[in-house]
Structure formats: structure tokens, C-alpha cells
């Protein structure tokens, strides 16, 4: 049984959205998604899924506030503490199991409401690591970056090149509030933030809410003449945030495993030839290259292909044509859905200034961020 994305909606996409509460943002995104799908939330949607975490929200048991703004009151509503793509995965399973025909998935982030972001990230570290006071919880990404350089032969210049590519590309995307016209030299000469990364290579934060409506094949055909098919989706956790020392540094096995199963579901043997573009993890510049390797997109070495322009929007295999997280920012558990949103709009031909030509199939891959080692991968097709 196939599963499709029949509606998508969003709200926010600015570093700060002071005029709306998080529930008002959720409502706006949900209304747009239901309108896009042509469904009535109260009558048609079988199950509602929301992805969120308490400390991001500043509310304990925050699922309390999940149902009202998405139309899920007195309906089957479930909250998952994971990236939005994991929620899409839950919906996918519900539809495949026959539990539901139409599922609404929601994720949101309002980092501008959090006054102590660094300390919240710190609270996610194992107490032992916290006690060291490492200065910036993102140090874990720095450890991966150096190990990746060592393993792959990529240099700092390659990482900077990713930042330049994605930040510049975002200038064409109205949702990309962190886009910048920036030169390679400026990135490399900037004050280092976390070696080997400068601040231009670390994505900023964005307030955003995204809603996605998913349907069974039959329902999808009733609703749309051209739904976007979710051909495969999977996720994996490599090590826990309480056992980061077991991580395979400079690699992302969770992305590798998630991709393997997502490709199997989608029937892909050679993902780079069988798909047309990818929206992948890039909240730290080097992650884009690391992910492309783990996704099997660059057996020759991702940095070499990057150098040759292979992953440019005009290149052979566009990667992050939306501008990626470096341009769009990250938004807690909504980050994976940001990539999904951009891919869906792209496949539908609704991507405006960042539209590619003739894209039929895409890979979406997202990591859950520091200090997790969880990733999710989806394959979408027209």
C-alpha cells in the first residue's frame, strides 16, 4: 500500500516571530496544510501526530497543548519526542497498518522564546559531560568534523564551500532568513567558533511551524491528481546521548542505516542516479558532505564532487537547492519537516525562486542535532 503527502503548510520562518504564540503558529500551519489537501480537520483526519520536546517548549507534558491548534481535540492525537521526520514515519506506519487513512503531522519550534538555549542543549548532555563545562554543547559537532576531515581527506575549504553554496542559494528562497551573500574567503577568515568551523558554518535558529497531511493511496487519489508519494522512510539511532563515547566519530551510521531501509522500501539501488536532488542535513557545514557519503551519494568522496560543482543547483545532482539549514535555520523538532517542505514544494513545481527543472524524485535526510545520533531519511516521488 502506498502512502502520499497530500497537503503541506507552514508558518513563521523568521529568527523571531514575536506576534504569534506557538499555538497560533501551529494553527496557521495546520489551516494551510488542510486547505492545501482539501480536507476538513474535524471531519476527515483520522489521527494527529505532533513532534515536540518539553524543554524546547518550556512546558512539562507539553502534549497538553498539541490537540487544540491542529484540530485534534477529542481525536486520536499522539505526541512523539523526536524530529518531525520521525513523526512522518509514525504516520506512515499508521497508514500502512490500516489504523488510519488520513493523518496530520505537525512539528514546530519557537527558539526565540527560549532565553537559555545553550543551557537547554547542555541539559541534553550526559551529567558527566555537563560537569566538565565544555563551553559550548556544539563541541560534539567539532569532534565529528575533525574526525571526518581525517577520514575523508576533506579540508576546511570544503566545509566553507558548503556554507557559501547554501547561504547564497537561500537568497532566492523567501523562507530562508539566514541566507547571505558571502565569499569563501570571508567564511575562512572569520573568527573560529568551534574548530574547524566558523560561525558562518553553523546554522542559526528559526521560529517555524509545519504541518503535513498524509494519506493512504486510495485517499490520496481521491484528494489530488498528483500527490507526492512517500516511497520510503526510516530512522535510526546509533548511540544514545548518554553514551556518546561509543559514537563512530566522523561518521553517521544512523543516516547510513536509515537510508538503507528507506531505499529498500522505495526500491532504489543507485540513489544518486534514481533521484534528482536531495535536501540533507547541513546545520553544520561539514554535515552535508558527511551525510552525502552516508547516503551513498558520493562514493568518490563528497568533497571532490562538491569542488567540481556537482552538488550546485545547476550541477548534476543539486543538494539543498532550498538553501538548507544554513539558510533556513533550524527549528528544533521541525527541522526535518523544513527539509521535507522544501522537497515537496520542489517536486510539485511550487518552489518559486529555487525551482529546479524536471525533478521527479528526492531524498530528504535529517539528523536530530547535538547531542543525538539519530537520523531519518525519506524518499519522495511524484
Amino acid at each position: 500500500m502506498r502512502t502520499a503527502i497530500v497537503g503541506i503548510g507552514w508558518s513563521g520562518f523568521r529568527p523571531s516571530v514575536p506576534e504569534l504564540s506557538f499555538t497560533e503558529m501551529m494553527y496557521e500551519a495546520a489551516v494551510r496544510a488542510y486547505e492545501d489537501a482539501g480536507v476538513d480537520a474535524r471531519r476527515d483526519v483520522d489521527v494527529f501526530v505532533s513532534c515536540q520536546e518539553d524543554f524546547w517548549e518550556g512546558i512539562a507534558i507539553n502534549d497538553e497543548f498539541a490537540p487544540d491548534p491542529v484540530g485534534g481535540v477529542m481525536r486520536p492525537t499522539v505526541t512523539v519526542a523526536g524530529d518531525g521526520l520521525q513523526c512522518v514515519g509514525q504516520a506512515y506506519m499508521m497508514i500502512r497498518s490500516g489504523l488510519a487513512e488520513l493523518v496530520a503531522v505537525e512539528a514546530h519550534g519557537k527558539p526565540s522564546d527560549v532565553k537559555t538555549l545553550q543551557e537547554i542543549y547542555e541539559l541534553a548532555l550526559d551529567p558527566q559531560l555537563r560537569a566538565l563545562k565544555p563551553g559550548n554543547p556544539f563541541f560534539l559537532a567539532g569532534l565529528d568534523a575533525v574526525a571526518y576531515m581525517r577520514r575523508s581527506g576533506a579540508r576546511r575549504e570544503h566545509f566553507a564551500l558548503v556554507a557559501v553554496k547554501n547561504r547564497r542559494r537561500g537568497l532566492r528562497n523567501p523562507r530562508a532568513s539566514h541566507a547571505a551573500s558571502i565569499e569563501l574567503k570571508a567564511v575562512l577568515n572569520a573568527r573560529p567558533a568551534i574548530y574547524p568551523l566558523t560561525r558562518h558554518e553553523i546554522a542559526g535558529f528559526t521560529d517555524a511551524a509545519i504541518s503535513v497531511v498524509m494519506a493512504s493511496e486510495q485517499k490520496a487519489r481521491e484528494l489530488r491528481s498528483e500527490p507526492i508519494w512517500l516511497e520510503g522512510i526510516w530512522w535510526s539511532t546509533e548511540v544514545g546521548s548518554g553514551s556518546v563515547e561509543w559514537h563512530e566519530w566522523g561518521s553517521m551510521p544512523s543516516a547510513r542505516l536509515a537510508a538503507k531501509e528507506a531505499y529498500r522500501q522505495a526500491g532504489l539501488k543507485d540513489p544518486r542516479r534514481q533521484t534528482d536532488f536531495a535536501e540533507v542535513e547541513d546545520r553544520f557545514s561539514f554535515m552535508e558532505l558527511l551525510f552525502l557519503e552516508e547516503l551513498g551519494m558520493a562514493p568518490e568522496g563528497a568533497h571532490k564532487l562538491l569542488e567540481s560543482g556537482y552538488f550546485d543547483a545547476e550541477g548534476s545532482y543539486p543538494v539543498n537547492p532550498s538553501g538548507g539549514s544554513l539558510s533556513l535555520g533550524t527549528s528544533f523538532e521541525a527541522t526535518g519537516l523544513m527539509r521535507l517542505l522544501e522537497a515537496v514544494l520542489q517536486l510539485r513545481g511550487e518552489a518559486g525562486g529555487v525551482q529546479l527543472r524536471g525533478a521527479e524524485r528526492a531524498v530528504v535526510a535529517s539528523w536530530r542535532g547535538v547531542p543525538s545520533y539519530t537520523s531519518a531519511v525519506a524518499v519522495l516521488g511524484r
Binding site: E19, A145, V146, A147, P196, E245, W249
Partner: protein, 153 residues
């Protein structure tokens, strides 16, 4: 009464989500490892053929491990230098943090590295706080230093 959302009049309400404090017990196996650490010994667990560091109460395959002392040298597998915090403020002194792996072990220790020029592959050893200052946490180690240097503590 019908005035709506003039930007200056939008309200934000301050709040927190803080317990007064958290007290984390070390765990069953962790309390043994903590005792060893306070005595200046690093430990791991023996899982069949494998040696796993740091010691967790179980092996990756969920079987029960046995706590064993692990002596160096500790080899730098990766490192990073933290120059600024997440808010963009420079740290007073940049912090060098490294992944330190034992030759025979899977897993590694993440800790500070004090070296003129940190590099991958460097052999290091831990420098401990004085015995009376130790409390059985990772902070009992001040940092790792190149093994060829004389200990300063």
C-alpha cells in the same frame, strides 16, 4: 477593546522550567567505576573479547559486562577547539576537547586536552586532581596531556 496586536503591545511572559537542582546517582556499576576514578584509575567493561570504554552497566549487545581497569596510553582520535559559546561570546580561554581512545578498546573518553599543538594520533595520559579533591566524576581528571611530557601535577 477591539485593538489588536500593535507590535509594541504584544506581550511576553517570563518563566522557567527549573527544579532547584538535580542529583544524579552514579548507578550500580557506575558507583564502582566512580570509586576507581577517585583512586586515579580509569575503567572500562570487558564484554567477551571486547573492551568497552567508558564503563557502562551493559555491553552494546545488552549483555552484562565486567568492570576492569584500563591503563593508557590514550590516543587522540579527534579533537576540537571551542572558541565561543552558542550566543557568540568568546570564551576567556579556548577549550581543547578531544576524543581519547585506548588502543585495545571500543569507545573512548571525551575530555580536555592540554597540548601545544593538538593532533590526531597523539599519545596522551590523564592528569588527575589531588586525591582529596576527587569525587568520582569525570571532573577528577583535569585534562589529558601528551604522554611524552612530564606530569605537572
Amino acid at each position: 477593546m477591539n485593538r489588536r496586536g500593535g507590535r509594541g503591545e504584544l506581550l511576553h511572559v517570563e518563566g522557567s522550567m527549573e527544579a532547584d537542582k538535580y542529583v544524579y546517582p552514579p548507578g550500580v556499576l557506575g558507583s564502582e567505576a566512580a570509586k576507581a576514578l577517585a583512586e586515579g584509575k580509569l575503567t572500562g567493561i570487558r564484554c567477551g573479547e571486547k573492551l568497552i570504554v567508558p564503563p557502562r552497566p551493559y555491553c552494546p549487545d545488552h549483555s552484562k559486562g565486567e568492570l576492569v581497569e584500563v591503563r593508557g596510553p590514550w590516543i587522540v582520535e579527534s579533537f576540537t577547539i571551542v572558541y565561543e559559546d552558542m550566543y557568540g561570546n568568546m570564551l576567556e580561554t579556548p577549550q581543547v576537547i578531544a576524543v581519547l581512545r585506548h588502543e585495545d578498546a571500543e569507545g573512548s573518553i571525551v575530555h580536555f586536552l592540554k597540548a601545544e599543538k593538538p593532533r590526531v594520533g597523539m599519545r596522551t595520559r590523564p592528569v588527575f586532581k589531588s586525591p582529596e579533591e576527587r569525587n568520582g566524576t569525570l571532573g577528577d581528571i583535569l585534562y589529558f596531556e601528551p604522554a611524552e611530557q612530564a606530569s605537572k601535577k
